[in-house]
């Protein structure tokens, strides 16, 4: 079992890589201003975000207002992580039972 571990993971990785490379073929070129990603939704952010949110920084505007629920989730993620770490690492001292 141990012996096969590396070849198997290598094969998986190569397979995944081939799949990724296969996908590259139809990808828009790097920095193409007319790629779908740059055409469909984002222009509106650039033109109207500042007017509607009074923020010249569009990233902030989108982060804090258009997609504010993602940001709320993001803060929840950080909160979750911190509580998880506390939960796991904090030692509770019980009376009469000190385990150090």
């Amino acid at each position: 079992m141990r012996k096969w571990f590396k070849p198997i993971s290598l094969a998986t990785v190569i397979l995944t890589g081939m799949l990724l490379i296969y996908g590259i073929h139809d990808m828009p070129s790097w920095g193409d201003p007319n790629s779908p990603a740059n055409r469909h939704i984002s222009p509106r952010y650039i033109t109207e975000a500042t007017r509607k949110t009074a923020t010249p920084n569009i990233v902030s505007a989108v982060l804090g207002d258009y997609r504010s629920y993602d940001t709320l989730g993001e803060s929840a993620v950080i909160f979750t992580a911190s509580i998880s770490c506390l939960f796991l690492l904090r030692r509770i001292r019980r009376q009469g039972n000190h385990d150090d």
């Binding site: 490379i21 990603a37 650039i46 033109t47 975000a49 505007a61 992580a81 998880s84």
Partner: protein, 145 residues
């Protein structure tokens, strides 16, 4: 061919990074190395996203210049091509946070694992766990207290 590769070089970089990360996560037997692999893996995806927002031809960071912003500006004059696509940046800000959070929790579990088995090599941990399950004294024993 070279042009073809160069035109999408961002993807090639991300594919290579991703494969390195993936291999480290699956093939390495040291838990910290796996964790590092995980970080590389996540970074490669961040790279992919951010590169999707790039616009060639003089586009700059998506912070409006003063000429485009202010009481006297005229909205239709804002040229979309002047600014990078802001959305991938927004998404990746969140993704970075997620990646950090995951790393944090993973490190916390690593601390637990180290405390319990006094090693971070997966093979050794497996051996110890096998001994524990069969009620033997663990091979690599360090009396805790």
């Amino acid at each position: 061919m070279t042009e073809y590769i160069l035109a999408k070089y961002n993807f090639w970089i991300y594919v290579v990074l991703m494969m390195i990360g993936l291999y480290a996560m699956m093939g390495k037997r040291n838990l910290v190395k796996k964790l590092i692999g995980m970080n590389i893996f996540q970074t490669s995806i961040i790279l992919l996203f951010v590169s999707a927002g790039v616009k060639k031809g003089g586009a700059t960071v998506p912070i409006l210049r003063h000429s485009d912003y202010g009481p006297e500006h005229v909205e239709h004059l804002i040229r979309v091509a002047d600014y990078l696509n802001p959305l991938p940046h927004v998404l990746m800000l969140t993704a970075i946070v997620v990646s950090i959070a995951t790393t944090g929790v993973a490190l916390a579990t690593l601390i637990l694992i180290y405390k319990r088995y006094n090693t971070l090599e997966e093979d050794e941990i497996m051996a110890i766990r096998k001994d524990i399950r069969s009620y033997k004294t663990p091979r690599i024993l360090r009396s805790k207290d």
